[in-house]
Symmetry: C2
Subunit: 404 residues, 2 copies
């Protein structure tokens, strides 16, 4: 498997674009993205478990119930959620895309991200659609990735090449993260494209399985969004024998999908609102995977630990505290904790109690941009990883007045 | 029932003091508190549910297993938690108090608050004990309240006078809150004294019942501390007929206890680390109390909402979002939200969708120091209240480098 350029346009037959249409006032920010496949795709998606669900999720769910889609449209700047006419607007977006591209409106995946509870007008989307569609190109992944950003600072895109049978296949994805990020069974906005040939059923199985270890293990702020969604479109243009069941081919695809998702997870966590550091909590020695996951996620969610990491303060008591209230069945007297970065690794706790360590060395390690928090539970063989970010002044700044 | 002065010394026979002994380096900050009753008390306590438990909690639990105590000692600046010799040190503190006051060391409640995982030396406590005990007085509640503070800005003390039968009784409390505040079955450090005569069993029942609606409904940062503890000492010096079962007398005591706890809850939330505002989420119309509590607590715990409240931004979509992921069974299409303060009340959401409102008026309401978030669920008759605070730059500042 090899990392390649092109993001969501790396796979054969996919075109993309992103433009400013006017949902946002800032004319320099692209606010709508379009992805189009030259041939119909099998489609799979997972959605937020929040009881408040964005109208676009409902429409997308209906549209891909038959396992088929050919395009994705997504605006930023307005979540089209908690609006009385939300469904009508989301369906209107699909109709506009369908008319412009000459495809069935029910083959469109629709998504929105931004402020909740502000009516979304179709006018800017209607007026922007001709330019959006006309600009679709094989180089459009960047523009599309920009079009879905809200408070994101970094564009998030990735692609890999992999083999299924003797055929070379490609898979790529773009994502939008930043705030309201604490996915549960689904996640932020992620659009993945691949030219692998795979049945809709196996595509859904691959996605539903993989997100449990990837997006569902990310948290920026503990808030599970109303509009989280991950979709995969697979157009089969790689020419491999269609994957219709478990086996070597499915495993190869799973591995490629996991590589895309892992990369985007880390990008989303590292670009959490206001974040200066990526936190990766690796739990080993758990008695089962559920316990490992619970502990890992509890650690990266702790506001106190996140603030300590911002300050490069090796306050490991907060790691122990977060393990202790996680709800996982853990023998605290066996817990070990170490901090690691490119500057080295430093054990700070063994058997549930502190060990002497150099504060200077710890500061040096924790001053890096990617910090691993290594937790050993001494209870078994299970392991899990969770991703988060530090809690900073800028998180408060960004969210103290997000709407203006 | 009448609010009175005196805090934990308001009840007959209770003396208190707080001094600087040297656990902390800052010589201007009192770092140890002592409470003493002239006669033995019935005692009750509730403790954190964190699997990591401070050594003082274990020792206190042993000491008051017989339902009797006569003194409380508590240091700040070091939590005596996750230290190999923690139990020995906590027992050592009890021995020092016992020897100095001439009471049984097992009649001492011991507590510690501060940094986790740093060995606590008995030396400063030993050297400070003579002055601490010599200074015990009827005016000592203030000094004791200061002695248990960590990053708290405000002293937290309160007392009430109430009637049991024809006897006038008193109850008072002090508390320490600020950070790592998200109690679960128990809470931060709270010491309550009363001169009511009550059996240990009924005292425990009163406390265990009341905290479910008071301290367990407070959150500053979602982190359940390792050292949370609430204790009540009742010395019976008011001379009422000892309360040994349910009935009018027990109800009168419950009401007084609830008044103390409610007051301290609000103080703890308002003085959350870095907080500028007290948030009170009042949920009504829930189908049962569990749902009402789940919703109320989810709202005050949302980092996004807390940051919006700091910015006086009426971003009600974040209230809906927090209700939606709370886990409570709610019909979102019936939810209403309003913001209220001394400047008035403004409805912002009805039937799950936004209503037009004046941003200017909302800003005026949300710029106050105490904000009520009123949530109606339209689902039944149950109600609950939760307390929290805004998320500010200072929370990050305080916790970015807490140990230095």
């Amino acid at each position: 498997m090899k990392k390649i350029d092109g993001g969501i346009c790396a796979a054969k037959g996919f075109l993309a674009n992103g433009v400013h249409c006017g949902v946002r006032h800032n004319r320099t920010k692209r606010d709508i993205a379009l992805i189009y496949s030259e041939s119909p795709c099998t489609a799979a998606a997972v959605y937020t478990t929040n009881l408040v669900k964005g109208a676009p999720l409902t429409v997308t769910k209906n549209n891909i119930q038959n396992g088929v889609a050919q395009a994705v449209v997504c605006n930023s700047g307005n979540a089209n959620t908690c609006n009385a006419n939300g469904i009508e607007i989301a369906e209107g977006m699909c109709t506009l895309v369908g008319e412009t591209l000459g495809i069935d409106p029910t083959d469109v995946v629709v998504a929105s991200t931004g402020v909740i509870g502000q009516p979304l007008s179709l006018d800017p989307i209607r007026s922007g659609m001709p330019a959006l569609a006309a600009g679709l190109s094989r180089d459009g992944s960047d523009a599309a990735a920009e079009g879905i950003m809200t408070t994101d600072v970094a564009k998030k895109e990735i692609a890999f090449e992999f083999e299924v049978g003797s055929k070379t296949c490609r898979i790529g994805g773009i994502a939008k993260g930043s705030g309201m990020i604490h996915p549960n069974m689904a996640t932020m906005l992620v659009f993945i494209t691949t030219d692998v040939a795979i049945s809709a059923e196996m595509l859904q199985k691959a996605l539903s399985t993989d997100i449990k270890d990837t997006f569902n293990m990310v948290s920026v702020d503990g808030d599970t969004s109303t509009n989280d969604m991950v979709t995969v479109l697979a157009n089969g243009m790689a020419g491999n024998a269609t994957i219709t069941g478990d086996g070597e081919d499915f495993a190869a695809f799973m591995k490629a999908l996991n590589s895309v998702n892992l990369y985007l997870c880390r990008m989303i966590a590292a670009d959490g609102e206001g974040a200066t550091k990526l936190l990766e909590c690796k739990v080993t020695g758990a008695k089962d995977i559920a316990a490992a996951k619970t502990v890992a996620k509890s650690v990266v969610c702790s506001s106190l630990l996140k603030a300590a990491m911002f300050g490069a303060d090796a306050n490991w008591g907060r790691v122990l505290c977060a393990i202790g209230y996680s709800g996982a069945d853990v023998d605290i007297s066996r817990v070990g904790v170490a901090f690691e970065s490119v500057k080295g690794v430093i054990p700070v706790c063994e058997n549930g109690a502190g060990v002497a360590f150099s504060e200077e060395k710890a500061k040096e390690i924790l001053s890096e941009k990617e910090i691993d928090i290594l937790v050993t539970l001494g209870d078994g063989d299970a392991a899990a990883t969770a991703w988060g970010c530090d809690l900073t002044y800028d998180y408060v700044k960004i969210n103290g007045d997000y709407r203006t």
